[in-house]
Amino acid sequence: MPGIHLSQLTKRYARGEAVVRGVSLTVEDGDFMCLLGPSGCGKTTILRMIAGLEQVSGGEIAIGGRYVDSAARGLFVPAEKRGLGLVFQSYALWPHMTVARNIDFGLRLAKLPTAEREARLVRVMERLRIAGLAERYPGQLSGGQQQRVALARALAVNPGVLLLDEPLSNLDATLRLQMREELSRLHREFGTTIVFVTHDQWEAMTLATRIAVMNGGEVQQVGSPDQIYGQPANRFVAGFIGSPPINMIATGTALADALAGLLGTALPRAAAIGLRPEGIMPMAEPGPGRIALDLRAVLPTGGGWIMELLHASVEGPTLLHAMTHQPPPWRAGQRLHAELRPEALHLFDATGQRIPADGQTPRADRPLAFTSLFRN
């Protein structure tokens, strides 16, 4: 079955730097895999190489156990022979064909009998709820409709793998939510292996079963959405995922020392401590293990409140962001005392790599037992 295996994948454009550097990644059959990263990190290039629209500069791609692109073996299967589905970010619907013709195009090329073609056309259009649009032209459709047509076009031929390039980025907020549900439903119903690319962490977290976080042409971490958020493998992943972003506290500052004091242990190798905003729980009264912070401002975000907190020290104040879902009863300027949730703390060494708790390698299947860090 069509799992995708990338090994040591490299892409270098003429006289340029490599945009993809030695990426190895396995997408299991039935995975809903997301390539997540900032723009320019090489994620779309990888998707296009899987599709066969770009050639690898080094490394190999195998789909369903068959090499489709390997310079070292002299093997290359062009896009039109790979039998994959790709939904473009711009949808790339052909403006001179009706919706039905757009979807039918691949079926015609597959030389299916007419009855079969019509049956499939009707079925896929019903599935995607665009049955009434058959005779319209793409120019007459709304963005959401266009995207369904693009999806229908890719799905009509029953591709083994469906590739999606920024599937939700061109939709407005309501449609995004709706399409997100539909994509999840499609993944369940069709059981197709799906690989999609996005720079939007919300899109990645809500859709994917597994996420590969990328930066600078390299994979930073692969894991389930919970793993990526709960156990970031390095400073980049920790900083890229989460909104408001994680608080990074350099070691050697008064705040870091205070945290270390809290933890009751020196932080030998740690170069930075990450602290998730929702792990800071400010309270009015001081108490054991609480850190004194001054409230600077409260910013409502609709569903929650971001608090700007200052930690005063001799080097000057350090700004921390905290997130709560209860309206904070305090006013700006008030002194608060924050309790920290241990699982919100992440330690990183000088190279930016995560320092696992108790020096152990993190197990992929369960959150770290941060409580063990608190000795007192």
């Binding site: 003429a14 599709a51 070292a72 073996r73 002299g74 896009a79 790339a92 052909w94 001179h96």
Partner: protein
């Protein structure tokens, strides 16, 4: 899956080569680019190289004069053109005339065109929408229309045949008014004014009114705003229009040919024509080379200036507003200027031409003098052409040739243009794409008459497997294709750039191979631009004179050359009728294009 061992180093190269081969062969654009490159090397570069070579090699028939073998190197032709007893007649005076006429016509056309362009684009001129179209008409008509109209009005007794209207009414126009430099200048000025209106008008339309208002808020007077805001902002367009008009003027052939002949008024293009007509191929090559040089320098200057000005491109704010300026008491004088231009540029010449074709004797407005014989008469008492043109086989033959040759060439040019666009945009080898882009643009730098001479130089004699093509429709066909490539390829490149890759990639994902993608996706999407890329060359080809006048023979007469032949034989009414038909075709075609595609006339008419 298991990860098999990497193949050993010794095998790396064959695998690499095989990989390259598979990758390149899955996409036909590499092969396509190479084929197109070969085609245009033969069709465009070779003729130009050949005429440059002819400047300095002994031509067949000149062995005795130069005391050298043919094809030997010689400075004979350069000397004859630039520094001999005849070079004054052959070159220097025509050069002076050409430069004088082109510069003067440019100045007049730009001055008049800028004023009218501003009135049409930015003022409350009465009927400005109507004028915006009406004032462009002269550019849709071939320049020879005006030359013949002038002859119809002002021809005097210096030349035989029927006199002009003024002469027939008893006033003899002097030669300086009837022929030569002055009428050529007037006609070219009128002919190029619309071009200036289009270019300057478009530039003015792009200037945000808010820029002017910002100046007014700071207390600037209207004159000051004009001088310090509007003119500097439209300066690139003005310079560009100047250079394009000048370059076009240098290559203009039909007007000086028709009006210059009676008084031996020669320009470079007529001198070139005469050199070819008298089998002085070497001299022709040198004159053509000079015309080419002027063209290349001028348009090179234009390209350079465009690049310079792009640095201070107008900053496109969001709320682009366009308010028209009230003319106040200048309203009616301005209206009179526009109206007069239309009268002189359209009504008078076309009216005179049309009337002349239904009048037996010029300038006599009595009922018995009117006749439709020149259109549909039979058994006329003339030496040749004994029936009206619509009943004469020659007319239909020439029309057929025009449509057939120009039509076929335009179809091929349009399709090639699209393919060039595809190759340029998609070629995996950027150098190949750049070469194609530059080569297909080359003919634009070379005035038609010089290009025709170059074609003549290369294809008049057998070359390798090719037989001598002179006198066949084939040479016209090939020359037209080459001549029309700049427009066709620019249209193609613009269209393909806009299309982007994704529409085609979506086709690949659906399993379509290269030919299927071209047939079902790329070309159908480009239907609009493709129609423009075919129709626009068709119209410019139908009214083309300079290519045909050198490459056509009586057997391959097209409408334009037949009209010139009729002028030479003094069948004034018939010639006028034919030119009117060309004007009609050209006008109808241009309107059709504007209706089909919404591309501005400005781009199309440049070619």
């Amino acid at each position: 899956m298991t990860s098999p061992r990497r193949p050993g180093r010794a095998f790396a190269l064959p695998y690499r080569a095989r990989y390259r081969f598979i990758v390149y062969s899955q996409d036909a654009s590499t092969v396509l680019s190479l084929l197109l490159l070969a085609l245009f090397l033969g069709l465009i570069v070779a003729p130009l190289a050949s005429i440059l070579g002819d400047m300095i090699t002994v031509q067949i028939g000149d062995e005795a004069r130069t005391q050298l073998q043919s094809d030997a190197l010689t400075g004979h032709y350069l000397e004859r053109v630039f520094a001999s007893r005849v070079s004054h007649i052959l070159f220097w005076r025509p050069l002076g005339n050409t430069l004088l006429i082109s510069v003067a016509a440019t100045v007049i056309a730009i001055t008049l065109g800028t004023a009218l362009g501003w009135l049409v684009a930015r003022s409350d001129l009465p009927g400005r929408r109507w004028f915006a179209t009406a004032l462009i008409v002269p550019y849709m008509l071939p320049a020879s229309t005006y030359a013949l109209a002038w002859m119809t009005l002002f021809k005097n007794r210096t030349v035989g045949g029927q006199p002009g209207w003024v002469e027939a009414m008893g006033l003899t126009p002097p030669d300086w008014l009837a022929y030569g430099g002055l009428p050529t200048l007037v006609i070219l000025s009128l002919h190029y004014t619309p071009f200036a209106i289009l270019l300057v008008g478009n530039a003015l339309r792009r200037i945000d009114s808010q820029m002017e208002e910002a100046a007014r808020m700071l207390g600037a007077s209207r004159m000051r705003i004009m001088r310090q805001i509007v003119l500097p902002l439209s300066r690139p367009a003005l310079f560009s229009a100047c250079l394009l008009i000048f370059a076009d003027g240098v290559g203009e052939f039909s007007v000086p040919y028709i009006l210059g002949l009676p008084v031996q008024f020669e320009t470079l293009s007529t001198s070139l024509y005469r050199a070819i007509g008298t089998q002085q191929d070497g001299v022709a090559a040198v004159v053509a080379g000079v015309i080419m040089l002027i063209g290349v320098v001028t348009l090179g200057l234009d390209a350079w200036m465009m690049r310079e000005t792009r640095r201070f491109a107008t900053i496109g704010g969001k709320g682009m507003t366009e308010r028209s300026h009230p003319l106040g008491r200048w309203k009616w004088p301005a209206f009179a200027l526009a109206g007069l231009t239309f009268l002189l540029g359209v009504v008078l010449p076309l009216g005179a031409l049309a009337l002349s074709t239904v009048m037996k004797l010029p300038g006599r407005f009595t009922p018995e003098n009117f006749t439709f014989d020149y259109w549909i008469g039979t058994g006329l008492h003339t030496v040749a052409l004994r029936s009206g043109i619509l009943l004469s086989p020659e007319f239909w033959n020439a029309l057929g040739n025009s449509v057939r040759i120009v039509g076929a060439a335009s179809l091929v040019a349009g399709l090639l243009g699209m393919l060039v666009g595809y190759a340029v945009v998609r070629s995996p080898l950027p150098l190949l794409g750049a070469a194609l882009r530059q080569i297909t643009f080359l003919p634009y730098l070379v005035p038609g008459i010089a290009f025709a001479a170059a074609f003549m130089a290369l294809f008049a004699v057998p070359r390798g497997p090719l037989p001598a093509l002179y006198g066949t429709p084939m040479i016209l066909f090939l020359a037209l294709i080459a001549d029309q490539m700049p427009f066709a390829s620019r249209t193609g490149i613009a269209a393909m750039t806009q299309l982007g890759r994704e529409a085609e990639e979506a086709g690949r994902m659906s399993g379509a191979g290269w030919f299927q993608r071209m047939r079902h996706i790329v070309l159908p999407i480009q239907r609009g631009p493709m129609i423009a890329a075919v129709l626009m060359p068709f119209i410019s080809g139908i009214k083309n004179v300079s290519l045909f006048v050198i490459l056509a023979v009586p057997a391959t007469d097209v409408l334009t050359t037949w009209a010139l032949r009729l002028v030479d034989y003094n069948y004034q009414q018939a010639a006028n009728a034919v030119v009117l038909m060309i004007a009609l075709l050209s006008w109808a075609g241009t309107s059709l294009i504007n209706r089909i595609t919404k591309t501005g006339i400005a781009q199309g008419l440049e070619s």
